[in-house]
Symmetry: C2
Subunit: 228 residues, 2 copies
DNA sequence: CGTGCGCTTGACTTTTTTCAATAAAGGTGG
DNA sequence: CCACCTTTATTGAAAAAAGTCAAGCGCACG
Protein backbone atom coordinates (compact mmCIF):
# COMPACT_ATOMS: atom_id res chain seq x y z
CA UNK A 1 0.00 0.00 0.00
CA UNK A 2 1.75 3.13 -1.18
CA UNK A 3 -0.19 5.40 1.13
CA UNK A 4 1.69 3.95 4.06
CA UNK A 5 5.04 4.93 2.57
CA UNK A 6 3.75 8.40 1.87
CA UNK A 7 2.63 8.71 5.49
CA UNK A 8 5.90 7.42 6.82
CA UNK A 9 7.75 10.11 4.90
CA UNK A 10 5.83 12.93 6.58
CA UNK A 11 7.87 14.54 9.35
CA UNK A 12 4.72 15.22 11.33
CA UNK A 13 4.19 11.50 11.65
CA UNK A 14 7.59 10.10 12.20
CA UNK A 15 8.01 8.09 15.31
CA UNK A 16 4.58 6.52 14.84
CA UNK A 17 4.40 2.74 14.87
CA UNK A 18 3.54 0.65 11.84
CA UNK A 19 0.16 -0.03 13.37
CA UNK A 20 -0.57 3.63 13.90
CA UNK A 21 0.36 4.40 10.32
CA UNK A 22 -1.94 1.66 9.14
CA UNK A 23 -4.80 3.08 11.17
CA UNK A 24 -4.16 6.41 9.63
CA UNK A 25 -3.95 4.99 6.14
CA UNK A 26 -7.52 3.80 6.62
CA UNK A 27 -8.85 7.32 6.87
CA UNK A 28 -6.79 9.26 4.34
CA UNK A 29 -7.65 9.86 0.73
CA UNK A 30 -5.04 10.34 -1.92
CA UNK A 31 -5.64 12.98 -4.53
CA UNK A 32 -3.58 13.91 -7.56
CA UNK A 33 -3.37 17.56 -8.37
CA UNK A 34 -2.42 19.30 -11.57
CA UNK A 35 -0.69 22.61 -11.99
CA UNK A 36 -3.07 25.51 -11.51
CA UNK A 37 -5.60 23.37 -9.68
CA UNK A 38 -7.41 25.16 -6.84
CA UNK A 39 -7.39 22.83 -3.85
CA UNK A 40 -9.58 24.96 -1.67
CA UNK A 41 -10.83 28.53 -1.65
CA UNK A 42 -11.08 31.05 1.14
CA UNK A 43 -14.38 30.54 2.90
CA UNK A 44 -14.74 26.84 2.02
CA UNK A 45 -15.79 24.67 4.93
CA UNK A 46 -12.85 22.86 6.51
CA UNK A 47 -13.97 19.27 6.38
CA UNK A 48 -10.44 18.05 6.68
CA UNK A 49 -6.86 19.00 6.00
CA UNK A 50 -4.14 18.10 3.53
CA UNK A 51 -0.56 17.02 3.49
CA UNK A 52 1.42 17.68 0.37
CA UNK A 53 3.31 14.60 -0.81
CA UNK A 54 4.56 15.78 -4.16
CA UNK A 55 4.75 19.06 -6.04
CA UNK A 56 4.37 22.57 -4.67
CA UNK A 57 1.34 24.47 -3.45
CA UNK A 58 0.91 28.14 -2.77
CA UNK A 59 -1.27 29.43 0.04
CA UNK A 60 -2.49 32.95 -0.64
CA UNK A 61 -4.99 35.66 0.09
CA UNK A 62 -6.75 37.85 -2.44
CA UNK A 63 -7.53 41.52 -1.97
CA UNK A 64 -10.85 42.81 -3.32
CA UNK A 65 -9.03 44.24 -6.35
CA UNK A 66 -7.56 40.83 -7.04
CA UNK A 67 -4.02 41.50 -5.84
CA UNK A 68 -2.64 38.38 -4.22
CA UNK A 69 -0.45 37.98 -1.17
CA UNK A 70 1.30 34.65 -0.96
CA UNK A 71 1.43 33.52 2.65
CA UNK A 72 3.50 30.44 2.15
CA UNK A 73 4.75 28.05 -0.47
CA UNK A 74 4.37 24.49 0.73
CA UNK A 75 6.91 21.80 -0.06
CA UNK A 76 6.39 18.03 0.21
CA UNK A 77 5.77 16.78 3.73
CA UNK A 78 4.04 19.90 4.98
CA UNK A 79 0.44 19.91 6.14
CA UNK A 80 -1.92 22.71 5.16
CA UNK A 81 -5.47 23.64 5.98
CA UNK A 82 -5.13 22.24 9.52
CA UNK A 83 -5.76 25.60 11.09
CA UNK A 84 -9.29 25.81 9.75
CA UNK A 85 -9.98 22.24 10.70
CA UNK A 86 -8.93 22.57 14.31
CA UNK A 87 -10.25 26.04 14.84
CA UNK A 88 -13.58 24.89 13.45
CA UNK A 89 -13.77 27.67 10.92
CA UNK A 90 -13.74 27.94 7.15
CA UNK A 91 -10.44 28.06 5.30
CA UNK A 92 -8.93 31.52 5.68
CA UNK A 93 -7.00 31.49 2.41
CA UNK A 94 -6.70 29.89 -1.00
CA UNK A 95 -4.54 26.89 -1.89
CA UNK A 96 -3.44 26.32 -5.45
CA UNK A 97 -1.04 23.81 -6.98
CA UNK A 98 2.01 25.38 -8.59
CA UNK A 99 3.02 22.10 -10.22
CA UNK A 100 1.59 18.66 -10.77
CA UNK A 101 1.77 16.56 -7.65
CA UNK A 102 -0.38 14.86 -5.08
CA UNK A 103 -1.83 15.37 -1.64
CA UNK A 104 -3.29 13.25 1.12
CA UNK A 105 -6.61 14.35 2.56
CA UNK A 106 -7.37 13.74 6.25
CA UNK A 107 -11.05 13.95 7.12
CA UNK A 108 -11.61 16.03 10.22
CA UNK A 109 -13.61 13.75 12.50
CA UNK A 110 -11.54 10.65 11.92
CA UNK A 111 -8.30 12.49 12.45
CA UNK A 112 -9.48 14.05 15.69
CA UNK A 113 -10.35 10.58 16.90
CA UNK A 114 -6.85 9.47 16.02
CA UNK A 115 -5.29 12.31 17.95
CA UNK A 116 -7.46 11.68 20.93
CA UNK A 117 -5.99 8.21 21.25
CA UNK A 118 -2.46 9.13 20.47
CA UNK A 119 -0.68 11.55 22.77
CA UNK A 120 2.58 11.60 20.89
CA UNK A 121 0.77 12.50 17.68
CA UNK A 122 -0.92 15.39 19.44
CA UNK A 123 2.39 16.64 20.80
CA UNK A 124 3.80 16.56 17.30
CA UNK A 125 0.82 18.45 16.04
CA UNK A 126 1.30 21.07 18.73
CA UNK A 127 4.98 21.42 17.95
CA UNK A 128 4.22 21.80 14.26
CA UNK A 129 1.65 24.52 14.85
CA UNK A 130 4.02 26.30 17.21
CA UNK A 131 6.76 26.28 14.63
CA UNK A 132 4.48 27.71 12.03
CA UNK A 133 3.33 30.39 14.43
CA UNK A 134 6.92 31.28 14.98
CA UNK A 135 7.49 31.64 11.27
CA UNK A 136 4.47 33.86 10.96
CA UNK A 137 5.80 36.01 13.75
CA UNK A 138 8.93 36.51 11.72
CA UNK A 139 6.89 37.44 8.66
CA UNK A 140 4.89 40.00 10.60
CA UNK A 141 8.05 41.45 12.03
CA UNK A 142 9.57 41.68 8.61
CA UNK A 143 6.53 43.25 6.98
CA UNK A 144 6.02 45.87 9.62
CA UNK A 145 9.54 46.74 10.66
CA UNK A 146 11.52 46.49 7.47
CA UNK A 147 11.35 48.04 4.07
CA UNK A 148 11.42 45.96 0.95
CA UNK A 149 15.23 45.90 0.58
CA UNK A 150 15.53 44.55 4.10
CA UNK A 151 12.96 41.86 3.47
CA UNK A 152 14.70 40.82 0.29
CA UNK A 153 18.03 40.69 2.10
CA UNK A 154 16.39 38.44 4.71
CA UNK A 155 15.16 36.21 1.95
CA UNK A 156 18.57 35.82 0.34
CA UNK A 157 20.25 35.18 3.66
CA UNK A 158 17.83 32.44 4.60
CA UNK A 159 18.16 30.98 1.13
CA UNK A 160 21.89 30.97 1.74
CA UNK A 161 21.42 29.04 4.96
CA UNK A 162 19.25 26.39 3.34
CA UNK A 163 21.31 25.86 0.24
CA UNK A 164 25.09 25.85 0.52
CA UNK A 165 26.97 28.92 1.70
CA UNK A 166 28.47 30.98 -1.11
CA UNK A 167 27.23 28.88 -3.99
CA UNK A 168 24.91 30.08 -6.67
CA UNK A 169 21.47 29.99 -5.11
CA UNK A 170 18.41 28.92 -7.05
CA UNK A 171 15.20 30.85 -6.56
CA UNK A 172 12.40 28.38 -6.08
CA UNK A 173 9.72 30.84 -7.15
CA UNK A 174 9.18 33.21 -10.04
CA UNK A 175 9.99 36.83 -9.41
CA UNK A 176 6.34 37.74 -9.50
CA UNK A 177 5.72 35.22 -6.76
CA UNK A 178 8.72 36.39 -4.83
CA UNK A 179 7.37 39.93 -4.95
CA UNK A 180 4.09 38.75 -3.48
CA UNK A 181 5.87 36.72 -0.81
CA UNK A 182 7.72 39.88 0.21
CA UNK A 183 4.55 41.93 0.26
CA UNK A 184 5.40 44.08 -2.74
CA UNK A 185 4.96 44.20 -6.51
CA UNK A 186 7.19 42.95 -9.35
CA UNK A 187 8.30 46.43 -10.46
CA UNK A 188 9.59 47.34 -7.03
CA UNK A 189 11.34 44.01 -6.65
CA UNK A 190 12.99 44.41 -10.01
CA UNK A 191 14.34 47.85 -9.15
CA UNK A 192 15.68 46.78 -5.80
CA UNK A 193 17.33 43.75 -7.30
CA UNK A 194 19.04 46.01 -9.82
CA UNK A 195 20.28 48.31 -7.06
CA UNK A 196 21.60 45.37 -5.05
CA UNK A 197 23.61 44.24 -8.04
CA UNK A 198 24.94 47.73 -8.67
CA UNK A 199 26.03 48.03 -5.05
CA UNK A 200 27.86 44.73 -5.31
CA UNK A 201 25.73 42.94 -2.72
CA UNK A 202 24.71 40.15 -5.04
CA UNK A 203 25.38 38.77 -8.49
CA UNK A 204 22.76 37.27 -10.76
CA UNK A 205 22.95 34.66 -13.46
CA UNK A 206 19.98 34.08 -15.73
CA UNK A 207 16.56 34.53 -14.26
CA UNK A 208 16.68 32.30 -11.26
CA UNK A 209 20.20 32.23 -9.94
CA UNK A 210 21.72 34.53 -7.40
CA UNK A 211 24.96 34.55 -5.48
CA UNK A 212 25.60 36.48 -2.34
CA UNK A 213 28.63 38.64 -3.03
CA UNK A 214 28.68 40.65 0.19
CA UNK A 215 27.08 38.79 3.04
CA UNK A 216 27.90 41.45 5.57
CA UNK A 217 26.32 44.13 3.44
CA UNK A 218 23.15 42.09 3.18
CA UNK A 219 23.08 41.57 6.91
CA UNK A 220 23.38 45.28 7.49
CA UNK A 221 20.50 45.86 5.10
CA UNK A 222 18.35 43.26 6.83
CA UNK A 223 19.17 44.83 10.17
CA UNK A 224 18.32 48.30 8.97
CA UNK A 225 21.86 49.54 9.56
CA UNK A 226 22.42 50.37 5.94
CA UNK A 227 20.22 51.67 3.23
CA UNK A 228 20.33 50.96 -0.42
CA UNK B 1 -6.43 27.35 46.99
CA UNK B 2 -6.84 30.38 44.80
CA UNK B 3 -4.73 28.97 42.00
CA UNK B 4 -7.49 26.50 41.24
CA UNK B 5 -10.00 29.27 40.69
CA UNK B 6 -7.58 31.10 38.45
CA UNK B 7 -7.08 27.93 36.41
CA UNK B 8 -10.80 27.29 36.16
CA UNK B 9 -11.30 30.75 34.70
CA UNK B 10 -8.93 30.10 31.79
CA UNK B 11 -10.83 29.27 28.60
CA UNK B 12 -8.04 26.96 27.50
CA UNK B 13 -8.79 24.74 30.46
CA UNK B 14 -12.52 24.73 30.72
CA UNK B 15 -14.11 21.38 30.59
CA UNK B 16 -11.35 19.89 32.73
CA UNK B 17 -12.37 18.00 35.84
CA UNK B 18 -11.69 19.20 39.36
CA UNK B 19 -9.05 16.52 39.68
CA UNK B 20 -7.30 17.59 36.50
CA UNK B 21 -7.25 21.18 37.67
CA UNK B 22 -5.76 20.09 40.96
CA UNK B 23 -3.05 18.16 39.18
CA UNK B 24 -2.30 21.24 37.19
CA UNK B 25 -2.27 23.47 40.24
CA UNK B 26 0.57 21.32 41.55
CA UNK B 27 2.86 22.38 38.76
CA UNK B 28 2.04 26.04 38.21
CA UNK B 29 3.72 28.98 39.83
CA UNK B 30 1.94 32.22 40.47
CA UNK B 31 3.82 35.42 39.84
CA UNK B 32 2.76 39.01 40.40
CA UNK B 33 3.87 41.50 37.83
CA UNK B 34 4.12 45.25 38.01
CA UNK B 35 3.65 47.75 35.23
CA UNK B 36 6.73 47.95 33.02
CA UNK B 37 8.04 44.62 34.18
CA UNK B 38 9.77 42.55 31.49
CA UNK B 39 8.45 39.01 31.73
CA UNK B 40 10.77 37.55 29.16
CA UNK B 41 13.06 38.85 26.45
CA UNK B 42 13.60 37.70 22.91
CA UNK B 43 16.19 34.95 22.95
CA UNK B 44 15.49 33.77 26.50
CA UNK B 45 15.23 30.01 26.85
CA UNK B 46 11.64 28.82 26.95
CA UNK B 47 11.55 26.80 30.15
CA UNK B 48 7.81 27.16 30.38
CA UNK B 49 4.91 29.33 29.33
CA UNK B 50 2.57 31.80 30.97
CA UNK B 51 -1.11 32.47 31.25
CA UNK B 52 -2.16 35.99 32.11
CA UNK B 53 -4.68 36.08 34.93
CA UNK B 54 -4.85 39.79 35.61
CA UNK B 55 -3.65 42.95 33.93
CA UNK B 56 -2.41 43.38 30.39
CA UNK B 57 0.80 42.32 28.67
CA UNK B 58 2.24 43.37 25.37
CA UNK B 59 4.17 41.01 23.14
CA UNK B 60 6.55 42.86 20.86
CA UNK B 61 9.62 42.77 18.69
CA UNK B 62 12.39 45.34 18.59
CA UNK B 63 14.16 46.49 15.46
CA UNK B 64 17.90 47.21 15.68
CA UNK B 65 17.18 50.94 15.89
CA UNK B 66 14.87 50.30 18.81
CA UNK B 67 11.58 50.77 16.99
CA UNK B 68 9.05 48.38 18.43
CA UNK B 69 6.37 46.39 16.68
CA UNK B 70 3.63 45.16 18.98
CA UNK B 71 2.50 41.73 17.89
CA UNK B 72 -0.32 41.29 20.33
CA UNK B 73 -1.76 42.69 23.51
CA UNK B 74 -2.78 39.89 25.84
CA UNK B 75 -5.85 40.08 28.02
CA UNK B 76 -6.63 37.89 31.04
CA UNK B 77 -7.11 34.22 30.23
CA UNK B 78 -4.74 34.14 27.31
CA UNK B 79 -1.61 32.02 27.26
CA UNK B 80 1.66 33.40 25.92
CA UNK B 81 5.10 32.02 25.32
CA UNK B 82 3.69 28.58 24.47
CA UNK B 83 5.05 28.70 20.97
CA UNK B 84 8.64 28.76 22.11
CA UNK B 85 7.98 26.06 24.64
CA UNK B 86 6.46 23.60 22.22
CA UNK B 87 8.68 24.41 19.32
CA UNK B 88 11.68 23.91 21.62
CA UNK B 89 13.22 27.25 20.77
CA UNK B 90 13.99 30.46 22.61
CA UNK B 91 11.28 33.10 22.96
CA UNK B 92 10.93 34.92 19.66
CA UNK B 93 9.73 38.21 21.15
CA UNK B 94 9.55 40.33 24.27
CA UNK B 95 6.74 40.29 26.84
CA UNK B 96 6.19 43.29 29.09
CA UNK B 97 3.44 44.11 31.57
CA UNK B 98 1.39 47.17 30.65
CA UNK B 99 -0.30 47.25 34.05
CA UNK B 100 0.04 45.59 37.41
CA UNK B 101 -1.37 42.09 37.38
CA UNK B 102 -0.38 38.48 37.72
CA UNK B 103 0.50 35.46 35.65
CA UNK B 104 0.68 31.72 36.11
CA UNK B 105 3.85 29.98 34.99
CA UNK B 106 3.66 26.45 33.59
CA UNK B 107 7.00 24.62 33.56
CA UNK B 108 7.58 22.89 30.27
CA UNK B 109 8.28 19.30 31.23
CA UNK B 110 5.49 18.96 33.74
CA UNK B 111 2.97 20.48 31.38
CA UNK B 112 3.96 18.19 28.55
CA UNK B 113 3.44 15.25 30.86
CA UNK B 114 0.00 16.58 31.64
CA UNK B 115 -0.89 16.88 27.99
CA UNK B 116 0.38 13.43 27.26
CA UNK B 117 -2.16 12.01 29.67
CA UNK B 118 -5.02 14.22 28.73
CA UNK B 119 -6.31 14.06 25.16
CA UNK B 120 -8.97 16.71 25.58
CA UNK B 121 -6.42 19.16 26.91
CA UNK B 122 -4.25 18.55 23.89
CA UNK B 123 -7.14 19.12 21.53
CA UNK B 124 -7.85 22.42 23.25
CA UNK B 125 -4.26 23.37 22.93
CA UNK B 126 -4.32 22.55 19.23
CA UNK B 127 -7.49 24.55 18.72
CA UNK B 128 -6.03 27.51 20.54
CA UNK B 129 -2.87 27.50 18.46
CA UNK B 130 -4.92 27.16 15.29
CA UNK B 131 -7.03 30.15 16.21
CA UNK B 132 -4.00 32.23 16.87
CA UNK B 133 -2.48 31.17 13.58
CA UNK B 134 -5.65 32.28 11.91
CA UNK B 135 -5.41 35.69 13.55
CA UNK B 136 -1.83 36.04 12.42
CA UNK B 137 -2.89 35.21 8.91
CA UNK B 138 -5.30 38.11 9.07
CA UNK B 139 -2.56 40.41 10.35
CA UNK B 140 -0.21 39.43 7.54
CA UNK B 141 -2.97 39.96 5.03
CA UNK B 142 -3.72 43.34 6.48
CA UNK B 143 -0.10 44.47 6.60
CA UNK B 144 0.72 43.43 3.10
CA UNK B 145 -2.48 44.07 1.21
CA UNK B 146 -3.87 47.19 2.84
CA UNK B 147 -2.67 50.70 3.48
CA UNK B 148 -2.80 52.23 6.89
CA UNK B 149 -6.34 53.66 6.58
CA UNK B 150 -7.64 50.23 5.70
CA UNK B 151 -5.90 48.65 8.65
CA UNK B 152 -7.27 51.26 10.99
CA UNK B 153 -10.77 50.73 9.60
CA UNK B 154 -10.33 47.00 10.25
CA UNK B 155 -9.34 47.78 13.78
CA UNK B 156 -12.38 49.95 14.47
CA UNK B 157 -14.73 47.45 12.92
CA UNK B 158 -13.41 44.60 15.02
CA UNK B 159 -13.54 46.81 18.09
CA UNK B 160 -17.15 47.45 17.21
CA UNK B 161 -17.82 43.73 17.10
CA UNK B 162 -16.26 43.09 20.48
CA UNK B 163 -17.79 45.97 22.33
CA UNK B 164 -21.42 46.91 21.62
CA UNK B 165 -22.55 48.03 18.19
CA UNK B 166 -22.82 51.78 17.82
CA UNK B 167 -21.74 52.74 21.30
CA UNK B 168 -18.73 54.81 22.10
CA UNK B 169 -15.81 52.43 21.85
CA UNK B 170 -12.90 52.58 24.25
CA UNK B 171 -9.41 52.11 22.87
CA UNK B 172 -7.56 49.68 25.06
CA UNK B 173 -4.16 50.95 24.03
CA UNK B 174 -2.45 54.30 23.72
CA UNK B 175 -2.23 55.80 20.28
CA UNK B 176 1.47 55.14 20.15
CA UNK B 177 0.77 51.51 20.82
CA UNK B 178 -2.05 51.45 18.34
CA UNK B 179 0.28 52.85 15.71
CA UNK B 180 2.73 50.05 16.39
CA UNK B 181 -0.03 47.45 16.30
CA UNK B 182 -0.99 48.73 12.85
CA UNK B 183 2.58 48.70 11.65
CA UNK B 184 2.97 52.45 11.37
CA UNK B 185 4.07 55.46 13.44
CA UNK B 186 2.12 57.85 15.68
CA UNK B 187 2.29 60.81 13.27
CA UNK B 188 0.75 58.85 10.44
CA UNK B 189 -1.95 57.46 12.70
CA UNK B 190 -2.79 60.91 13.95
CA UNK B 191 -3.20 62.30 10.47
CA UNK B 192 -5.37 59.45 9.29
CA UNK B 193 -7.54 59.70 12.35
CA UNK B 194 -8.04 63.38 11.63
CA UNK B 195 -9.01 62.63 8.06
CA UNK B 196 -11.48 59.97 9.15
CA UNK B 197 -13.16 62.46 11.43
CA UNK B 198 -13.28 65.10 8.71
CA UNK B 199 -14.86 62.63 6.31
CA UNK B 200 -17.49 61.78 8.89
CA UNK B 201 -16.48 58.14 9.24
CA UNK B 202 -15.90 58.34 12.97
CA UNK B 203 -16.33 60.70 15.91
CA UNK B 204 -13.89 61.00 18.77
CA UNK B 205 -14.32 62.02 22.38
CA UNK B 206 -11.28 62.62 24.54
CA UNK B 207 -8.21 60.56 23.67
CA UNK B 208 -9.55 57.11 24.04
CA UNK B 209 -13.10 57.08 22.84
CA UNK B 210 -14.31 56.60 19.32
CA UNK B 211 -17.71 56.05 17.78
CA UNK B 212 -18.31 54.61 14.36
CA UNK B 213 -20.40 57.17 12.52
CA UNK B 214 -20.44 55.54 9.11
CA UNK B 215 -19.98 51.80 9.28
CA UNK B 216 -20.43 51.29 5.58
CA UNK B 217 -17.79 53.86 4.80
CA UNK B 218 -15.35 52.09 7.09
CA UNK B 219 -16.10 48.78 5.47
CA UNK B 220 -15.41 50.22 2.06
CA UNK B 221 -12.11 51.56 3.32
CA UNK B 222 -11.15 48.21 4.82
CA UNK B 223 -12.06 46.51 1.58
CA UNK B 224 -10.03 48.92 -0.50
CA UNK B 225 -13.10 50.14 -2.37
CA UNK B 226 -12.74 53.66 -1.11
CA UNK B 227 -9.81 55.83 -0.35
CA UNK B 228 -9.46 58.52 2.19
C1' DC C 1 8.83 32.98 -36.80
C1' DG C 2 5.53 35.20 -34.40
C1' DT C 3 2.88 35.32 -29.92
C1' DG C 4 2.71 35.57 -25.08
C1' DC C 5 4.23 35.91 -20.63
C1' DG C 6 7.52 37.27 -17.34
C1' DC C 7 10.68 40.68 -16.42
C1' DT C 8 12.66 45.31 -16.68
C1' DT C 9 12.76 50.37 -17.08
C1' DG C 10 11.05 55.20 -17.08
C1' DA C 11 8.13 58.95 -15.66
C1' DC C 12 4.81 60.22 -12.49
C1' DT C 13 1.63 59.92 -8.26
C1' DT C 14 0.47 58.55 -3.88
C1' DT C 15 1.53 57.07 0.60
C1' DT C 16 4.33 57.04 4.38
C1' DT C 17 8.21 58.51 7.04
C1' DT C 18 11.31 61.93 8.97
C1' DC C 19 12.42 65.97 11.38
C1' DA C 20 11.07 69.72 14.02
C1' DA C 21 8.03 72.42 16.62
C1' DT C 22 3.97 72.88 19.34
C1' DA C 23 0.02 71.55 22.04
C1' DA C 24 -2.46 68.87 25.19
C1' DA C 25 -2.79 65.38 29.18
C1' DG C 26 -1.56 63.13 33.24
C1' DG C 27 0.87 62.60 37.35
C1' DT C 28 3.62 64.60 41.35
C1' DG C 29 4.88 67.38 44.97
C1' DG C 30 4.15 71.50 47.07
C1' DC D 1 -5.94 72.51 44.07
C1' DC D 2 -2.53 74.26 41.29
C1' DA D 3 2.00 74.81 38.99
C1' DC D 4 5.39 72.06 36.95
C1' DC D 5 7.27 68.46 34.35
C1' DT D 6 7.19 64.45 31.67
C1' DT D 7 4.92 61.87 28.47
C1' DT D 8 1.74 61.56 24.67
C1' DA D 9 -0.53 63.53 20.73
C1' DT D 10 -0.95 66.71 16.81
C1' DT D 11 0.56 69.51 12.81
C1' DG D 12 3.53 71.27 8.99
C1' DA D 13 6.94 70.93 5.50
C1' DA D 14 10.18 68.19 3.05
C1' DA D 15 12.18 63.73 1.73
C1' DA D 16 11.97 59.02 0.82
C1' DA D 17 9.81 54.77 -0.35
C1' DA D 18 6.60 52.26 -2.83
C1' DG D 19 2.97 51.90 -6.13
C1' DT D 20 0.74 52.94 -10.79
C1' DC D 21 0.68 53.29 -15.63
C1' DA D 22 2.76 52.55 -19.88
C1' DA D 23 6.19 50.98 -22.95
C1' DG D 24 9.70 47.81 -24.33
C1' DC D 25 12.72 43.70 -24.10
C1' DG D 26 13.78 38.73 -24.25
C1' DC D 27 13.15 34.14 -23.96
C1' DA D 28 10.31 29.97 -24.27
C1' DC D 29 6.77 27.64 -26.72
C1' DG D 30 3.82 26.54 -30.01
Amino acid sequence: MEIIEALAAIPLFDGLSRQELEDMAMIVLRQDITRGRLIFAEGDAGTGFYVLTEGRVKIFKLSPEGKEQILHIMTPGEPFGEVAVFAGEPFPAYAEALEDGSVLFFPRAAFIELIRNNPSLSLKMIAMLSLRLRKFTAVIESLSLKEVPGRLADYFLSLGNEQGGDQWLTLDVSKNQLASLLGTIPETLSRILARMVKEGLIETRGQRQVRIADRMGLEELAGGLRRL
